[in-house]
């Protein structure tokens, strides 16, 4: 009987450990995001509009900002930056556009995912407005001019002279179950919203 008691204790402790480790696997998901955000690695930029302090324009240097637009997998849209490169001063707010066209006859929803290289620059590249913060629905044969407003942080390390901002456009028509022409906006990184807007 005494032995049974001792066994039960160990089984209980170890089972709880196993359950906690199962939870830890899931905790890695937010931890990973937090880690990437804090360290600015992985080229992940903020997923919400920049609300921080405004900057003094740094006249002493210019940064070359390159824009890349590409499609994921079988995404059929035409997707291009209106300007391929810009020379900008750190601290200065810049407006530029990306152009997208849905060449199919069907209504589709797209989501653009940004990535900054070098990864170190991601924390110094602030977007005050970006089409990537929202899903982009587009009726068949329609096209759209999508704005991006950004500012390069004057604290950007001195050795970085070029920043590349790459957008990958995903077809999320299946996931984004929004009634036609109802331009409801769904924040991009909220997994809960994905749950709510799932089309069954």
């Amino acid at each position: 009987m005494d032995g049974d008691n001792k066994n039960n204790k160990i089984v209980l402790k170890l089972s709880i450990t196993a359950l906690l480790m199962f939870g830890f696997g899931f905790a890695l998901v937010p931890l990973y995001d937090v880690f990437c955000e804090v360290t600015g690695i992985n080229g992940k930029t903020e997923s919400e509009s920049y609300q921080g302090k405004s900057f003094q324009k740094d006249e002493s240097r210019q940064i070359k900002v390159q824009f890349i637009a590409r499609n994921n997998d079988a995404m059929p849209w035409f997707f291009n930056p209106t300007e391929k490169t810009l020379m900008v001063n750190p601290g200065e707010s810049i407006l530029t556009y990306f152009h997208a066209k849905n060449p199919t006859l069907e209504r589709m929803v797209a989501q653009a995912i940004p990535s900054v290289s070098p990864g170190r620059a991601a924390n110094y590249f602030h977007k005050t407005a970006c089409f990537c913060f929202e899903q982009q629905p587009l009726s068949g044969l329609d096209s759209i001019k999508m704005p991006l407003i950004f500012v390069v942080d004057p604290d950007l390390p001195k050795d970085i002279k070029t920043i590349t901002l790459a957008y990958t456009l995903y077809d999320i028509t299946d996931k984004a179950a929004i009634a036609p022409d109802n331009k409801a906006k769904v924040s991009m990184s909220s997994r809960d919203n994905d749950f709510l807007t799932r089309r069954d």
């Binding site: 032995g3 001792k6 066994n7 160990i10 089984v11 170890l14 089972s15 450990t17 196993a18 359950l19 906690l20 480790m21 199962f22 939870g23 830890f24 696997g25 899931f26 890695l28 998901v29 990973y32 360290t39 690695i41 992985n42 080229g43 997923s47 994921n72 989501q111 995912i113 990864g119 170190r120 990958t168 995903y170 077809d171 999320i172 996931k175 991009m188 990184s189 909220s190 997994r191 994905d194 749950f195 799932r198």
Partner: protein, 516 residues
């Protein structure tokens, strides 16, 4: 006490640790042959450049299933079987602490693998995304059978966790009086640490496949960039499980070899305490090096450097172990029976595999080696010459004790030399193939890789043949082997198992032995 039940119910309702150990070992042998035949198909296709035998998609199913079946179906259950059979005896316990749970954790396995293997006959075929099942290959682009794969992984994870809990409970609660922790045989020590690794990382694997399941069926985006997730996250979670997993496979092998080498050297193991500490150090380090599998995903420099140095650090405790085995043999009066041959080959070949591991740990060099046949050669030196050789060694070592009959020594040696030759013929040339740039997981290759691939395939067929000799020798021993009742099968074997009669009675140590 009652003897075993008659007929099939003895096995179905088994709670005796020896019966369950035997079930695990036979199950693992069956899986070994199935996984091995997948490997034969792979090597037959790669015998020549061009596509001769199978479709590329089926080839991918073969590489995937070969890896999954061998890792989770053959190697892991084999060591769990050895643990069930030997640990209670080695610590002077009458049985495992939780015999009913033991029964359950075994009987889950055949179902898990029936589900996994049956996916070969499903529409769209078996999983084809590699045994590492990286998203989005295993989510967005997976065949429909992926859901069965996920279910199978869940089952086998539950089985492993229950098995591990049982082993920890047995070692903590059932040691004979006087069997202090630092008197335990090394096989028991390495298994204790392995059990903790299993409890820590199998749930993380379960989490990874659960996230896959949710991405596939419930519209989440854990690993899909389109919804704000990240496919690289999958690799982090997978390898957080995956690196400790390779030690789950190799630590019990270290334990087995640490039992066998002293016996045939007729000397006690050199550096017992350092072996225990080295095992614990390896287990600890295994949690903080996972991203060395991901040097090419675009990690920042600090990340690459950290994972590079941390990985290389593992070479220190591992080298201490190799040093201890060699020193145990040094000036011993060695004899070379089959278990010893396999153990010496283990030390030699596993060290080679460790060395190529060090090469792969060098982040800048890994850019060249990554996903090439060099990696395939590396991990087969550790998985096959490491785990499988040590399992072969332990079967020969303990078989006379288990069934009271002696195996055929000549046939054992023939098995060893054919396996040794076949193994090296298969995998040594793969180093060169990898360095020359041949990628892994391809059914066809360019002409310049032809010669080495042909050698490798011939070696694989030889190695496959050696396993049939092994099987034949085991069955022959059980039914026709020369009877032996000696307690000491090997003249200078130490440990409680050698104080018991051969064959082992159904119940042992119902009264705890006295430990000096």
């Amino acid at each position: 006490m009652a003897g075993p039940d008659k007929g099939f119910s003895r096995w179905l309702l088994a709670t005796n640790h020896k019966d369950i150990g035997a079930l695990y070992l036979w199950f693992s042998f069956a899986m070994f042959l199935i996984g091995g035949s997948f490997a034969m198909i792979i090597r037959a296709e790669l015998f020549q450049p061009g596509l001769q035998l199978v479709e590329p998609n089926f080839f991918n199913q073969m590489t995937t299933m070969h890896g999954l079946v061998m890792v989770f179906g053959a190697i892991m259950p084999a060591f769990v079987g050895l643990a069930n059979y030997m640990i209670p005896i080695m610590i002077g316990a009458p049985d495992m602490a939780l015999p009913r749970m033991n029964n359950l954790s075994f009987w889950i396995l055949p179902f898990a693998f029936a589900i996994l293997v049956s996916s070969l006959f499903m529409e769209g075929g078996a999983p084809n995304f590699g045994w590492t099942f990286y998203a989005p290959l295993s989510t967005t682009y997976a065949p429909p059978s992926v859901t069965f794969f996920i279910f199978g992984v869940h089952l086998m994870g539950i089985s492993s966790i229950m098995g591990a809990i049982n082993i920890v409970a047995t070692i903590f609660n059932l040691r004979a009086p006087g069997m202090t922790l630092m008197k335990m045989p090394l096989f028991v020590w390495t298994w204790l640490i392995t059990a903790f690794l299993l409890i820590a990382v199998m749930p993380v694997l379960a989490g990874a496949v659960t996230m896959m399941l949710m991405d596939i069926h419930f519209g989440t985006s854990f690993f899909s960039a389109a919804g704000g997730g990240d496919p690289v996250l999958f690799q982090h979670i997978f390898w957080f499980f995956g690196h400790p997993e390779v030690y789950i496979i190799i630590l019990p092998a270290f334990g087995v070899v640490s039992e066998i080498i002293p016996t045939f050297s007729r000397k006690p193991l050199f550096g017992y305490a350092s072996m225990v500490y080295a095992t614990a150090a390896i287990a600890f380090l295994s949690f903080i090096v996972w991203a060395h599998h991901m040097f090419t995903v675009g990690m920042p420099l600090v990340g690459e450097l950290y994972f590079m140095w941390a990985t290389m650090l593992i070479a220190v405790p591992t080298a201490a172990k190799v040093f201890n085995w060699i020193t145990t043999m040094f000036k011993g009066s060695l004899t070379f029976e089959t278990p010893m041959l396999f153990s010496i080959a283990f030390v030699f070949l596993f060290t080679l595999g460790g060395l190529t591991g060090l090469m792969l740990a060098i982040a800048p060099a890994d850019m060249q080696y990554h996903d090439s046949y060099f990696v395939v050669a590396h991990f087969h030196y550790t998985m096959v010459a490491g785990a499988i050789f040590s399992i072969s060694a332990s079967v020969y070592y303990w078989l006379p004790k288990w069934c009271g009959r002696m195996y055929n020594e000549t046939m054992g040696k023939v098995h060893f030399w054919i396996a040794f030759l076949g193994f090296n013929l298969t995998f040594f040339p793969q180093h060169f193939l990898g360095l020359a740039g041949m990628p892994r997981r391809i059914p066809d290759y360019s002409i310049q890789f032809a010669d080495f691939n042909m050698i490798s395939s011939i070696g694989a067929f030889i190695y496959g043949l050696a396993q049939l000799i092994f099987l034949f020798n085991i069955i022959r021993t059980i039914y026709f082997g020369e009877k032996t009742t000696k307690e000491q099968t090997w003249e200078s074997a130490r440990g409680l198992e050698w104080t018991l009669p051969s064959p082992l009675p159904f119940h042992t140590f119902e009264r705890p032995p006295s430990i000096k």
